[in-house]
C-alpha cells in the first residue's frame, strides 16, 4: 500500500467522522485538534474507522503520535 | 241602457280585457307544465276592474297593487313578454326574475309593485301620496287591495293617516267575496265594506266591478276628486274570481253552482254583448282582437323562453345600492 493510498483511506475515515471537512482543503501537517477542531470523540471514531479499514489498532497512549495527517500516515505505514 | 262610449274606446276596453284573459289562461297552462312556479293567482273574472281603473287613471299616477296583479301590470303598459318572462324567472322579466308572478314592478310606469303581504302595500301608498303632497305634485296614488285586506290593522291605520294628513290616495278595494278561501261573511262583521272608511272621514262608494264601463267612470270620478281635494277616497269594486285562489286549490269553500252563477256576468261576455247590441263592434272585431291577443301572448311566451337566466353569481346584486361584501 502506497503512502498515497494510505492517505486517501485516512482521509475517507476522517470525512466519515466529520462530513463537513470533505469540502475543505486539508493540509497534511495541520493539527487535527487545534486546526481542524476535532475532539476526543472525533479522534476515537477516526481511530475506530482506521481500525476497520486497515486493521491497524492505535492504542490510546499513541493518540499523540497521530496529531496530524502526516503523522498518522507515517504511523499507519509503519504498522501495516 | 246603452254604453255611451265611442267604438274606439269600446274596442280598447274589450281588447285589454281579452289580453288579460288570454295571458292568464296561458299562464295556467304554463304552470301546469312547470314553466311557471311558485304561487300563481289568476285574474280571470275580475278583468273589468283592472281595465276600467287603468283606463281612468292618468299615466303619471302611482299604482300600488296586490299579488293578483298581472292584469293591472299588462294594462298599465308593462309588455306581456316582460310579465311572462318574470313568471318564468328570467333575467328579462320586469323584475329581473327576482319577483315572480306576485311581484311585478316598473319604475317607468310608476307601478310600485305587486305586494303579497295582505294590506302591506297600503302604508306604502300613503307614503307615496305624502311625498307627492310635500312636493306639490298633482298626482293620485291608486292603491289596490282585496276584501281580505280590510281585516288588517294596516287598512284602518292607513285610512286614518291618509285622512288625518289629507293625502291624495284612492283606495280601491277589489271585493271578490273571498279572502283566499274565507267568504266575506265569515271574515268581516259588516259585509258592506264601504261602511267602514267614512268612520275615518274617508268618503266611500261601491260599483259593479263586472262592468268595465261603470268601473272606468267611477274610478275616473273618484280619482279626479282625490286630485282636486287632496283627500283620500275609497271605492269598492264588487267582482268575483272564476278561478281558484291559486293553482293548487281544490276550492272546497265554494260550490260550483255559485261559480257558474257568477260566470253569467262574465265581464268580457257581457261587454261584448252590449257593445254588439249597441252596434259599436262586430264579431269580426272580436275575432281580430282574439287573433292579436293570441299573437301577443305567443310572442310573450317566446320572449320568456328566449330569455336568459340571471347568472347565480349575481344573486346579491340589488340587495343594496352597492354590494356590501
Amino acid at each position: 500500500m502506497t503512502s498515497d493510498e494510505i492517505r486517501s483511506t485516512l482521509l475517507t475515515c476522517l470525512t466519515d467522522v466529520a462530513p463537513d471537512l470533505a469540502d475543505e482543503e486539508i493540509e497534511d501537517d495541520a493539527d487535527l485538534r487545534d486546526e481542524l477542531d476535532l475532539d476526543s470523540m472525533d479522534i476515537l471514531r477516526w481511530v475506530q474507522g482506521i481500525h476497520k479499514a486497515l486493521r491497524v489498532e492505535i492504542p490510546e497512549e499513541d493518540y499523540g503520535k497521530i496529531a496530524s495527517l502526516n503523522d498518522a500516515i507515517a504511523y499507519v505505514a509503519a504498522r501495516i | 241602457m246603452t254604453l255611451d262610449i265611442s267604438r274606439d274606446h269600446a274596442l280598447e276596453l274589450l281588447r285589454d280585457m281579452i289580453r288579460i284573459r288570454r295571458l292568464e289562461e296561458k299562464s295556467a297552462e304554463l304552470y301546469a307544465k312547470q314553466k311557471i312556479r311558485g304561487f300563481l293567482h289568476l285574474y280571470i273574472g275580475e278583468e273589468a276592474v283592472g281595465v276600467g281603473a287603468m283606463h281612468a287613471l292618468r299615466e303619471d299616477d302611482n299604482i300600488v297593487a296586490t299579488y293578483r296583479e298581472h292584469g293591472h301590470a299588462l294594462v298599465r303598459g308593462i309588455p306581456a313578454g316582460e310579465i311572462m318572462a318574470e313568471m318564468y324567472g328570467k333575467a328579462n322579466g320586469c323584475s329581473g326574475g327576482r319577483g315572480g308572478s306576485m311581484h311585478l314592478f316598473s319604475a317607468d310606469r310608476r307601478f310600485y309593485g305587486g305586494h303579497a303581504i295582505v294590506g302591506g302595500g297600503m302604508p306604502i301608498a300613503v307614503g307615496l301620496a305624502l311625498a307627492d303632497k310635500m312636493k306639490a305634485e298633482p298626482r293620485v296614488t291608486a292603491c289596490f287591495f282585496g276584501d281580505g285586506a280590510t281585516d288588517e290593522g294596516e287598512f284602518h291605520e292607513s285610512l286614518n293617516l291618509a285622512a288625518l294628513w289629507k293625502l291624495p290616495v284612492l283606495f280601491l278595494c277589489e271585493n271578490n267575496e273571498y279572502a283566499m278561501g274565507t267568504a266575506l261573511y265569515r271574515h268581516v262583521s259588516d259585509r258592506n265594506i264601504a261602511n267602514n272608511p267614512p268612520a275615518y272621514g274617508v268618503p266611500a262608494d261601491s260599483v259593479n266591478g263586472m262592468d268595465v264601463v261603470a268601473v272606468e267612470r267611477a274610478v275616473h270620478n273618484e280619482s279626479e276628486l282625490v286630485r282636486e281635494t287632496s283627500q283620500p277616497r275609497f271605492l269598492e269594486l264588487k267582482t268575483y274570481r272564476f278561478r281558484a285562489h291559486s293553482m293548487y286549490d281544490a276550492e272546497l269553500y265554494r260550490s260550483k253552482e255559485e261559480v257558474e252563477e257568477h260566470k253569467k256576468q262574465d265581464p268580457i261576455d257581457s261587454f261584448q254583448e252590449r257593445a254588439m247590441s249597441d252596434e259599436l263592434i262586430t264579431q269580426t272585431d272580436i275575432d281580430a282582437i282574439e287573433a292579436d291577443a293570441a299573437e301577443e301572448i305567443a310572442a310573450a311566451v317566446e320572449f320568456a323562453e328566449q330569455g336568459e337566466w340571471e347568472p347565480a353569481e349575481d344573486i346579491t346584486r340589488h340587495t343594496y345600492a352597492r354590494d356590501l361584501s
Binding site: 463537513d20 476526543s40 475506530q48 481500525h51 490510546e60 | 304552470y31 312547470q34 293548487y248 281544490a250
Partner: protein
C-alpha cells in the same frame, strides 16, 4: 298529436291520482275544458285541457297515481282524417315529454323539465363519501375508525354501527391520533410554525389546555434535516439563550474534581477493550451526572407556566458544537440506565448523527438537563446558560494537571472544574453544591458507573 299530462299545481305536488275521467275516447275537447279530476293532498281538483282535438287514447286508468308530467291522454287533431294513429304511439314512455330547448340550456333554472321529477326522490345519495349516519360517524370518530376503509353492510352499502364496531374490534383501527391534545387553535398554529412538538408541552390553560404561552416558552428544536444552516441555528440559539437569560434567575456553583481515579480506570479498561468498544472520559462524566440526578431530582425538571414539573426520566442532553458554528443538545434518553458501553455506543451514534444533521425531533426536545463540555478546547471552566424549559445545566472545563493536596502532600493531579448553572426558582445554591459533591464522589468510583 298532443299529450294531456298530469299537471303540476304547486311546487309541493309531485304526483296525483287520476280520480275520474270526464271524457271518453273519441270525445271532442276544446281548450279550457275540464276533462279529468285529480285527487291531490289538497283535495279533488278539476283539470283542464290546453289543446283542442279528439281524445284518442286514455293512458291512465281511474284510481292510478302517477307523477307530475306523466302523459294521461293523447289528444289528436280535430279532423280524424288528418290524424292517422301512429303505430308507435303507445310505446312512448310515460313522462317523456321533451323538455324545451330553453330548459336544456338552462339546467340551473328553477323549473325542472317534466319527467325529471320522477327520479328526483331517489337522488338524495351523497356520492362524495361513504354513506353513514351521524351516529355512525360519531362512533367511528370515537373509535378512530376511518369510514373510508369500512365496508358498509347496510342498504346501498350504508355503513352501520356494527360495521364500525367490527373494524374497531378487529384491531384494524389506527392508534388514537394526536389531536386528542387539548390545545388552543392559536397555540397549535404557532407550534406548527415554530416546529414545536406539542406532545412535549404541558398545558397551563383551563383543563390543562396548551395555550400560546406554553408553546412560546417551550424550547424551539433545531431543524433536523441535513446540516443546518449555521446562521439559522445561531439565531435560534440566540433567541433561546436571550429568553433564558431574561427569564431564568440563574445561580452558579463550581467544584473541582480530581479525575485521577476515573482516568486511570478508563486507561485500564480501554487497554483491555477492542478499538470499537473504547470509552472516552466524557461518557464517565455523562453517566455520573445522570446518577447524581437520581439523588437531586430538583435539578431534573422543566419549568412550565410558573412551576417546576419534575421529569419522569433522566434524559441528559449533550451539547454538541458543530464545526459550522451551530450547537445542538440532543438527549440521551434514560442516561442513568444500561451499561456504560451501551451508553458509549449511544453517545457515539448520537454525536455522529448530530454532526451529520440527522437527529430526530424527539431527541431535540426531550432533554431534562444539559451537559456541556468545552474542556477539549482548553477552557478551564464554563458558565453555561440554561436551555429552557430545563432548570439546570452542567458545564465541564478542561481536565488539567494541577497541584493538589492529597493526604497532606501537594501532588499533581488531573483536575476538572465543573460548574452547575441552575434556576433559583427551583433549587437553591445549597442544593446545587450538594449535587456537585455527589458528582465528585461518583467519579471517584468509576467502576460503579
Amino acid at each position: 298529436m298532443a299529450e294531456f299530462i298530469m299537471p303540476s299545481l304547486g311546487a309541493d305536488m309531485t304526483a296525483g291520482i287520476l280520480a275520474k275521467w270526464r271524457v271518453a275516447v273519441g270525445d271532442t275537447v276544446s281548450h279550457g275544458d275540464i276533462i279529468a279530476e285529480v285527487e291531490t293532498d289538497k283535495g279533488l281538483i278539476e283539470v283542464e285541457v290546453f289543446e283542442s282535438g279528439v281524445v284518442e287514447r286514455l293512458l291512465v286508468e281511474e284510481g292510478e297515481k302517477v307523477p307530475v308530467g306523466t302523459a294521461l291522454a293523447e289528444i289528436g287533431a280535430e279532423s280524424a282524417a288528418e290524424s292517422p294513429r301512429k303505430a308507435d304511439a303507445s310505446h312512448r314512455p310515460r313522462g317523456a315529454l321533451a323538455p324545451s330547448p330553453a330548459h336544456r340550456a338552462g339546467s340551473t333554472g328553477p323549473a325542472a323539465a317534466p319527467g325529471s321529477i320522477i327520479s328526483a326522490g331517489s337522488s338524495d345519495v351523497d356520492l362524495d363519501g361513504p354513506m353513514a349516519s351521524p351516529a355512525v360517524r360519531r362512533r367511528a370518530h370515537e373509535l378512530d375508525v376511518p369510514l373510508e376503509g369500512v365496508q358498509g353492510s347496510g342498504e346501498h352499502g350504508r355503513i352501520t354501527l356494527d360495521d364500525v364496531q367490527g373494524v374497531a374490534q378487529g384491531g384494524a383501527a389506527p392508534a388514537p391520533s394526536s389531536d386528542r391534545i387539548r390545545i388552543s387553535p392559536y397555540a397549535r398554529r404557532i407550534a406548527t410554525e415554530r416546529g414545536v412538538d406539542v406532545s412535549q408541552i404541558r398545558g397551563t390553560g383551563p383543563g390543562g389546555a396548551i395555550q400560546a404561552n406554553d408553546v412560546l416558552s417551550a424550547r424551539v428544536p433545531e431543524p433536523r434535516k441535513s446540516v443546518p444552516a449555521a446562521e439559522r441555528m445561531q439565531r435560534a440559539i440566540a433567541a433561546a439563550m436571550t429568553r433564558a437569560n431574561d427569564e431564568i434567575p440563574h445561580y452558579y456553583v463550581e467544584h473541582s474534581i480530581d479525575m485521577g481515579r476515573a482516568l486511570a480506570w478508563l486507561r485500564e479498561t480501554n487497554a483491555s477493550l477492542s478499538v470499537s468498544q473504547r470509552l472516552v472520559s466524557g461518557v464517565l462524566v455523562l453517566r455520573a451526572v445522570a446518577h447524581a440526578l437520581r439523588k437531586h431530582k430538583k435539578l431534573n425538571a422543566t419549568w412550565q407556566g410558573g412551576e417546576a414539573v419534575p421529569s419522569a426520566g433522566i434524559h441528559v442532553g449533550l451539547a454538541v458544537s458543530l464545526r459550522g458554528g451551530g450547537l445542538v443538545a440532543p438527549a440521551l434518553r434514560n442516561t442513568d440506565e444500561g451499561s456504560l458501553s451501551d451508553l458509549m455506543a449511544r453517545m457515539t451514534d448520537l454525536v455522529a448523527r448530530a454532526r451529520a444533521g440527522v437527529l430526530r425531533s424527539s431527541e431535540l426536545t426531550s432533554s431534562t438537563i444539559t451537559l456541556t463540555s468545552l474542556g477539549e478546547r482548553g477552557v478551564e471552566s464554563v458558565t453555561p446558560i440554561i436551555f429552557p424549559p430545563q432548570v439546570a445545566i452542567v458545564g465541564c472545563g478542561a481536565t488539567l494537571e494541577r497541584p493538589w493536596v492529597v493526604e497532606g502532600q501537594v501532588v499533581p493531579r488531573p483536575i476538572m472544574r465543573v460548574t452547575l448553572g441552575a434556576d433559583h426558582r427551583v433549587s437553591s445554591g445549597h442544593q446545587g453544591a450538594r449535587f456537585l459533591s455527589t458528582l465528585d464522589r461518583l467519579l471517584q468510583d468509576p467502576e460503579k458507573l
